[in-house]
């Protein structure tokens, strides 16, 4: 099943006088179940590409479709709903809400569905139960009532993963999720994501570390906003 489709997508930024081409005429199709790794040097356009796929930014040229829905003509509200209902995010700096506990952080995206009366939204009680299950899946059942500042980097990223998967999204976008972790934590986070991928979750994963590549089912290398290489790998 086709989850992501990009056709001739470009993105430009203006910095003062100069115009930077962050993405240049990108064509890309991602299917369900892939574990796609985006690699490339810093500034090659990985984050820009993830932001576009994640409906957080708008392409200057070309068409993007997520789960069959074209993002171009959508309103800001509709794109918010696409993010809420189809996509999970994991960030380099975790981005947990500091005032909420681990459990509440995981519950938050579900509460947006409940509050927005989204189709398939569940009650607050059910949300809490789902959040607990998600925290168990990332091995943090004992830390539900901890605030982010009481958790280590690796634990925070596990909470972020639980938060991304609790909504059962079609796809999880991860932008250098291991960059702020030591290698041991990075390895176990990677293993966790690979395990989730085996359970059917599609990942698009940006990194400039090579050790991630072993997990990938497909590796795309970016340079200066262009796809340099697109390699299918045999599943590890």
């Amino acid at each position: 099943m086709r989850l992501v489709n990009l056709a001739k997508v470009s993105r430009f930024f203006t910095l003062g006088q100069s115009r930077v081409c962050a993405l240049n005429q990108i064509d890309l199709a991602v299917d369900k179940g892939e574990f796609l790794v985006l690699k490339g040097a810093s500034g090659s356009g990985k984050s820009t590409l993830l932001n576009l796929i994640g409906a957080m930014d708008e392409a200057d040229e070309g068409e993007i479709a997520i789960a069959g829905k074209a993002l171009g003509p959508m309103s800001d509200r509709q794109k918010s709903h696409v993010r809420r209902d189809h996509i999970g995010f994991i960030f380099q700096s975790f981005n947990l809400l500091p005032v909420l506990t681990a459990l509440e952080n995981v519950q938050y995206p579900l509460s947006l569905r409940t509050g927005g009366k989204a189709a398939g939204a569940s009650s607050h009680k059910e949300n809490k139960a789902k959040a607990l299950v998600a925290l168990e899946r990332v091995g943090l059942a004992d830390f539900v009532n901890h605030k982010p500042n009481q958790l280590s980097g690796g634990q925070m990223q596990r909470v972020a993963i639980a938060r991304a998967l609790v909504t059962e999204p079609d796809i999880i976008l991860a932008d250098e999720p291991t960059a702020n972790l030591d290698s041991e934590n990075a390895q176990s986070i990677m293993a966790l994501m690979k395990q989730l991928n085996r359970q059917g979750i599609t990942f698009i994963f940006a990194t400039h570390h090579d050790y991630v590549l072993e997990q990938a089912s497909r590796v795309i290398e970016l340079r200066d906003g262009c796809i340099l290489q697109d390699k299918q790998r045999v599943a590890a």
């Binding site: 984050s47 957080m56 809400l97 500091p98 005032v99 519950q107 947006l112 409940t114 927005g116």
Partner: protein, 413 residues
């Protein structure tokens, strides 16, 4: 299914508690605004009441009843618009039947000259019923000498300013000259029994009060200029006025009536002036509070830019972000207003209890301790305004937050 996003309320509340110093500053500015409006509103209300009751209880009464035409022509030919004895009796009977009425007292106005042999001073005279007038004019204070009694046929009370101008002593006899009802000039002797202060300097410079019968002798008349009605409660003025005009109509009495409010032009001028001042002050206070709130909310938005990016990435709409900040602002408004109301009431009562003496107000000849009423309409309106201002002042920062570009908001992490 409960389909509100109660996390919004939780996050907003936790965010209020998060940067305590900043929240305290915001609370303080709302609180100061609310307190100053409650105090000023309560002070003005007490001043209005003081003025009103002073005028009612020194000169005007609550209602005055006159011969038909008195108000239009009476100042030119007062003698032609007197109430005759029969009317006075009828009105007394009707008025005394009303439970709201404290008392009814007649007055005969005259203008004349008072002379001590060397100099003459123009006076505004009232022939009064001293017993009843003593009850009505509780706001009049005796400065020297003693009160007027019905038995002192020649006795006279003079205003403080007049007393000084005449250079007289208590017990002195003076000659009072006035024109009679038919245009001749008549003179009687009066003996000064006391000097009084009504609270209004202009009045005190001219006022002469003598027994009604003495004034009637002076003017060769049996009539009175007006009947002054004092009620138990100022709030019932209009009700009683309506009842009386109905009764007068039934009895075929053609009379005129004026309420204290219609007679107290000066009171209304002061009220209008102070309402204007209060309105202006309110705008300034609210504007300053709004600036302070807008400023702290703007700082909160900048500080939380990465968080705003995160929740937007998770699927929060612009509306949700806006509501998050407006909810935070309404908590600040609610807490600030509640604290302001408590402090305002406490301070109003403390100041009233402390009995600070105010400087003598303009046009007045007495000074009073400051009193600050807790005016409930002022209190709840101010509290509501406090919340409203907090929310309104946060609309722009909240809007800014909702319009942040997600990818840029996240980059500032």
């Amino acid at each position: 299914m409960l389909s509100i996003n109660f996390f919004r309320y939780k996050i907003a509340l936790l965010n209020v508690l998060r940067n305590r110093r900043r929240s305290l500053i915001t609370l303080l500015s709302i609180q100061i605004g609310v307190v100053s409006l409650i105090l000023f509103g309560g002070f003005v209300a007490s001043m209005y009441e003081g003025m009103r009751e002073n005028m009612i209880r020194s000169q005007l009464g609550h209602l005055q009843i006159y011969q038909a035409g008195f108000n239009q022509y009476g100042h030119i030919e007062p003698e032609k618009y007197l109430l005759i004895q029969e009317q006075v009796q009828q009105v007394s009977d009707l008025v005394s039947g009303l439970a709201e009425v404290e008392l009814l007292t007649p007055r005969l106005d005259f203008s004349g000259l008072i002379t001590n042999g060397n100099q003459s001073v123009a006076v505004v005279g009232n022939g009064i019923d001293p017993d009843k007038e003593a009850l009505l004019s509780s706001a009049i204070t005796l400065i020297e000498g003693e009160d007027l009694f019905p038995e002192d046929q020649a006795g006279a009370l003079v205003g403080q300013g007049l007393y000084n101008a005449l250079n007289a002593n208590i017990g002195d006899y003076l000659t009072l000259l006035a024109s009679t009802a038919d245009g001749a000039v008549n003179a009687v002797d009066v003996q000064i029994v006391g000097a009084i202060n009504t609270g209004t300097r202009e009045v005190d410079n001219r006022l002469l009060r003598i027994n009604l019968s003495h004034a009637q002798d002076l003017q060769f008349t049996q009539g009175v200029s007006r009947l002054v009605v004092l009620l138990k409660d100022t709030a019932q003025t209009q009700i009683v006025m309506d009842k009386l005009s109905q009764l007068f109509e039934q009895e075929g009495l053609t009379l005129e009536m004026r309420s204290w409010s219609q007679l107290a032009d000066y009171y209304h001028e002061v009220v209008n002036l102070f309402d204007g001042v209060f309105g202006f002050l309110k705008i300034i206070v609210l504007f300053i509070a709004a600036l302070s709130i807008a400023n702290t909310m703007m700082m909160a938005v900048m500080e939380r830019t990465p968080e705003i990016g995160s929740i937007r990435a998770l699927g929060a709409t612009r509306h949700e972000v806006m509501m998050l900040f407006l909810t935070e602002a309404s908590y600040l408004g609610l807490f600030g207003s509640a604290l302001g109301v408590l402090l305002g009431i406490f301070m109003a009562n403390s100041i009233t209890l402390a009995e600070f003496i105010m400087p003598t107000p303009p046009g007045s000849s007495q000074s009073y301790p400051i009193r600050i009423f807790v005016e409930w309409t002022v209190v709840w309106q101010t509290a509501l305004t406090g919340v409203l201002v907090a929310v309104l002042a946060s609309i722009y920062p909240a809007f800014k937050a909702s319009r942040l570009l997600i990818n840029q908001a996240m980059r500032s992490a």
